[in-house]
Amino acid sequence: MPELTLIAQNALPQGVVTTLAGTRIEVLPMRRLTALMPGPDAGPLAEALMAQHGLGLPAPGAVEHAEQAECLWFGMGQYLLVGPAPAPGLAEAATLTDQSDAWATVLLEGPAARDVLARLCPLDLRARAFAPGATARTELAHMAASVTRTGPDGFRVMVFRSMAETLLHELRAALEAVAARGMV
């Protein structure tokens, strides 16, 4: 039997989908995503992440950064390594799952971004509750989502790959509605 090689591919064509009211919806490039699940004791994972990737273990709702790498808090007992392939040492400290092509990642950025997201997502998006750099697992139009605030006007949204088109549809409709009100 011939050997099959499976190649991970982005859930959506990369690039800007829509720009309205100075606010754009952009499909981001697929990056290497690895779920890290350390079990009851996250200590060894924290050490391995720091030693191998120069990353701290993020507290709930936080993101740790290093050169070319990020680590997101991704739920109870879950972390998401974004960017590099996991160093071999990580597998000793946690269960690893390659999720690179399991998520669709979209950037919503511009002056209307917060109002658009507020129509779809129950998070308190005010800066004092969800500051730039914060991350949350939440729901977006009934889809399980990960939302990370990349700046005052920027949000990176991730949903499961199977819902990629729905995410774009919902974001586009909400952006059109906000833009039509001319409030921005």
Binding site: P60, G61, G75, M76, Q78, P122, L123, D124, A129, A136, R137, T138, E139, A144, A145
Partner: protein
């Protein structure tokens, strides 16, 4: 209604799934009134109640929430993991 998740903070009800009353599980496996109570009978209190809520579209933790069913006031919430009823 909003519930406070010990990990995620105050969140909208839409992110949670009700998982039933938090009850003490009877000892032993022999069938008796205690098991009948545990499986079938609920008090439906007007007032303080202890319930499990899953933070389903949030962090996926199951919480033990104490709240007042008359006012929706949340009196406390904790991770059910390692403790619970």
């Amino acid at each position: 209604m909003r519930l406070t998740c010990p990990l995620c903070g105050e969140r909208d009800l839409r992110e949670f799934t009700y998982r039933g009353a938090a009850l003490a599980r009877p000892e032993g496996e022999a069938w008796g009134d205690d098991w009948h109570d545990y499986i079938h009978l609920r008090d439906n209190p007007a007032g303080e109640s202890r319930e499990y809520w899953a933070h389903s579209t949030g962090c996926a933790a199951v919480l033990l929430v104490t709240r007042d069913t008359r006012t929706h006031e949340v009196l406390g919430s904790a991770l059910a993991k390692g403790g619970g009823a």
